[in-house]
């Protein structure tokens, strides 16, 4: 198991490294002169030159890249060009919104999807199954930002149970803050829960057809004992991958949803930075999100190794 996890860690580190090179190329090399790009076409050449030296653009490319990486490893993401504050400070504030939102949505998605998927699979082709499959079919097709607008229309404007947007900050109290993240989390979670429930159902149905479930039934286990005791754990193994992928989707989806609810998260930051051409902020946020995805992938790998004894020994 250690070997397997070490190998995964190595491969994920390489992925992270490659991703950092891609981000560096796209934000530093492809725009030609990042300083000119950031200041716009009508900028004063002297100001561009000043920014160039501030960003260290007169240094060799490899040096700039290493500088960036080493800086990040020390927690230094550079100075935002528009806000004139360290990027780490900007990002730190925003992560306090984006990460809780993503985890909130992931928890909702999982809590809704697992019971729904198991329920549907245990009633294959019965009315309950067909109803859940119909609802999830619709859920998969709904764009989360549109769903968010409908939620605002119903719960904020018509019923006035929630505010239509904004975030009071964690200082206002955990419950108050969570309440303001509830509609965004639901908007993010339901479409993903639909996907997860469908995957859960089909994985469980596949597992229920396996020989060892028939063996369990021959031992005297009832249908539901065989499902809970034997099929479920095996069925969860492929579902783990999907849960990991969902984290990535929810993180990206959050960027969009934050715009619907005017939440001061990474998404808002990134779009402001894009419109202000602040590449320093853009690349920092993106590399952070990639890091989060890679970290979650590794967590999923660990979960895999725990769930599947075959992995504890060897895996390609």
């Amino acid at each position: 198991m250690t070997l397997y996890l070490l190998r995964r860690l190595l491969s994920l580190s390489l992925t992270l490294l490659a991703a950092s090179i891609v981000v560096f190329l796209v934000t530093e090399i492809i725009p030609g002169d990042p300083a000119a790009f950031m200041m716009g076409i009508n900028a004063d050449p002297a100001a561009i030159a000043a920014l160039r030296s501030e960003l260290g653009l007169d240094q060799p490319v490899a040096f700039r890249y290493l500088n960036w990486i080493v800086g990040m490893l020390q927690g230094d993401f550079g100075q935002s060009y528009t806000y004139r504050v360290p990027v780490s400070e900007l990002v730190g504030d925003r992560i306090a919104v984006s990460l809780p939102l993503t985890l909130y949505a992931l928890a909702l998605s999982t809590l809704i999807a697992f019971p729904a998927g198991v329920f549907a699979a245990s009633r294959r082709n019965a009315p309950g199954d067909i109803a859940i499959m119909g609802v999830t079919q619709l859920g998969v097709a709904v764009p989360n930002f549109w769903f968010a607008m409908l939620l605002v229309l119903l719960f904020a404007i018509t019923l006035q149970w929630f505010s239509a947007g904004g975030f009071p900050g964690w200082d206002a109290g955990v419950l108050v803050a969570l309440k303001s993240l509830t509609l965004p989390a639901i908007a993010l979670a339901l479409p993903q829960a639909s996907i997860l429930a469908r995957v859960m159902r089909s994985s469980l149905l596949d597992t229920l057809d396996e020989d060892f479930v028939r063996t369990a039934r021959a031992k005297g286990l009832s249908r539901s004992q065989a499902l809970w005791g034997h099929a479920l754990r095996n069925a969860l193994i492929p579902v783990l991958t999907i849960v990991g992928l969902q984290f990535s989707f929810l993180l990206a989806g959050g960027i969009i949803i934050e715009n619907v609810f005017y939440l001061p998260g990474l998404g808002r930051l990134v779009f402001q930075a894009i419109s202000q051409r602040d590449l320093i902020v853009v690349r920092s946020v993106i590399i952070l999100l990639v890091f989060a995805v890679v970290a979650v992938t590794f967590l999923v790998d660990i979960a895999y190794a725990i769930a599947d004894p075959r992995l504890r020994r060897q895996r390609r």
Binding site: F212, T215, A218, G220, L221, S222, N234, A307, R316
Partner: protein
């Protein structure tokens, strides 16, 4: 006392009749063999007794297990019955166990689920039962997972689960079909012993007459959902009242007539010298690579023109790997392969395309050997690709037609798709594809192993006739010694990547020298031997 009584069992799946008027009885301490070819309804009968039928199945009649009418039982009562009064072992040990639970837990579960013992006591019982089936804790720890066990060991675990509560009836559905002969012999001995010790009744389902003849007290022969003949084993095989029983018997022992003309003087068709085939193994840890796995270990062999050579050995002995190396599908790490005197290997740009035409192949699986999207014409003529100028138009049609007629089909079959043919016909098409460019060697890799005995007999006749008529050489790879004996002139015995014995078929079977050959022969069930023996094995109550 009767532990199983089935009367007038009719079963349909949807509108398709599967079983018709099946009657069976089995007494405690007896073994009832159910024999039949695929589609005869053997397995469905077993599932009906267990009441684990597919959803669409509907049945009528009476099934009594240990005096209880299963048709009148609730699902809850059935759950209590399964595992306690009646239990079952399935064919495929590789998939029959849950991969994420330890074997000890899986055996203990039977004890726990029936309320026989609490968690800790159940575990102690599991260790005891695993010991009974030959898996004592000091050799195979109960906290092992199924993937860490061999196929035979897994089947023992399945048996342990089945007999943990000493059921009155044990149903074994082809429990040894997926196992090697020596493992099969051990499992059969184990089952025989358990039946005797526990006094349970066993219903043993198999396609193999020799296995059933050596094991069962009574036999029921099934064909197309009906029991065509039933009776005490010896008596049934002596009299064979029903023509189907007779046909099965003849086909099982079928030896095709052959007049081989082996050219000893000419250059051998195939010469393999000191061939080695290694596979890399996964690393042990980050810093230490493992020595590669040597699947074929310095093997040499010769096949002469017109000669049929058998290559036998158990699974994993390297025989299929050797076949692929001979066909230049895989590179070898050492040694040479000569085809009609010229080197033949996949090294570099691969073998000369014209040379490839000399060696063709027929695989085991009649369903996987063809691209389902092509018509038979295109399937059969694929090897024309190997000819410098592949025949066109009328000549092409004529040769396709001839190849199909050579294997007992018609030229008109060229227009059909592969799914329109049965398993036996597909194997004929595979042979036609191998024949069409007139190779000198055909490698037959378990080519008749997936076929029912009656079809197998026909294909063996076809192969023997073709070899005699065209002077073809075969390298006949099989795990089945009976078949190899019927069709070959010479036999090579392979064990753990090495050829341990090489001799004429007669010699090897009558006078085996290597201990491994002897153990293989001793483990192979023989129909004739089982019927000649005095009745010492049968247990009367």
């Amino acid at each position: 006392m009767s532990v199983l009584s089935v009367r007038n069992l009719d079963l349909k799946i949807g509108r398709i009749p599967i079983l018709e008027d099946v009657d069976l009885t089995l007494d405690a301490g007896h073994i009832l063999g159910i024999v039949g070819e695929s589609g005869s309804g053997k397995s469905m009968t077993a599932l009906a007794i267990m009441q684990l039928l597919p959803r669409a199945a509907r049945w009528t009649g009476t099934i009594e297990v240990a005096g209880n009418d299963v048709g009148a039982m609730s699902e809850r009562a059935l759950c209590t019955m399964r595992g306690r009064d009646v239990s079952m072992i399935f064919q495929e040990p590789m998939t029959a166990l849950n991969p994420v639970h330890t074997i000890g837990d899986q055996v203990a579960e039977v004890v726990r689920i029936h309320g026989e013992a609490g968690r800790r006591h159940a575990h102690a019982r599991a260790i005891e039962v695993l010991g009974r089936v030959g898996l004592p804790p000091d050799r195979v720890a109960p906290d092992r997972y199924p993937h860490e066990l061999s196929g035979g060991q897994r089947q023992r675990v399945a048996i342990a689960m089945a007999i943990a509560l000493r059921p009155k009836l044990l149903i074994a559905d082809e429990p040894t079909t997926a196992l090697d002969v020596t493992t099969q012999a051990q499992i059969l001995d184990l089952l025989r012993k358990l039946v005797r010790e526990d006094g349970m009744g066993m219903m043993f389902i198999t396609h193999d007459l020799a296995v059933v003849a050596g094991l069962a007290d009574e036999v029921a022969v099934m064909k197309k959902g009906r029991v065509v003949e039933t009776g005490p084993t010896r008596q049934l095989f002596r009299q064979m009242r029903h023509p189907y029983t007779r046909a099965l018997f003849t086909a099982s022992a079928h030896v095709p007539e052959r007049q081989p003309r082996i050219e000893t003087a000419a250059t051998p068709v195939l010469e393999v010298r000191d061939v080695v085939r290694d596979y890399p193994r996964p690393r042990k840890n980050l810093f230490q690579a493992q020595a590669p796995f040597r699947a074929v270990d310095h093997v040499s062999l010769t096949v002469r023109a017109g000669e049929n050579v058998g290559l036998v050995g158990e699974s994993g002995c390297g025989k299929s790997t050797l076949a692929r190396a001979i066909l230049a599908l895989e590179a070898v790490q050492a040694g040479e392969i000569h085809l009609n005197g010229k080197a033949f290997s996949s090294a570099g740009a691969g073998p000369d395309i014209r040379q490839r035409a000399a060696a063709q192949v027929v695989f085991q699986d009649p369903y996987g050997s063809f691209n389902p999207r092509h018509r038979v014409r295109r399937l059969v003529s694929e090897p024309f690709f190997l000819m410098p100028e592949s025949p066109q138009d009328a000549d092409r049609e004529r040769r396709i037609g001839k190849a199909l007629e050579d294997v007992g089909l018609t030229a008109g079959d060229a227009d059909k798709y592969i799914h329109e043919f049965s398993g036996g016909q597909r194997q004929r098409i595979a042979i036609a594809r191998a024949l069409i460019i007139e190779p000198s060697l055909i490698v037959l890799d378990e080519a008749v192993s997936a076929l029912d005995v009656s079809i197998r007999a026909q294909i063996l006749d076809l192969l023997a006739g073709l070899s005699d008529r065209l002077g073809l050489s075969y390298l006949f790879i099989s795990h089945d010694l009976t078949v190899v004996r019927a069709i070959t002139d010479r036999v090579l015995v392979m064990q753990a990547g090495r050829i341990v014995e090489d001799g004429s078929t007669e010699d090897i079977f009558h006078n085996p020298r290597h201990p491994y050959t002897r153990s293989l022969l001793a483990a192979t069930p023989s129909l004739a031997a089982a019927l000649d023996e005095p009745s010492g094995e049968t247990v009367e109550t």
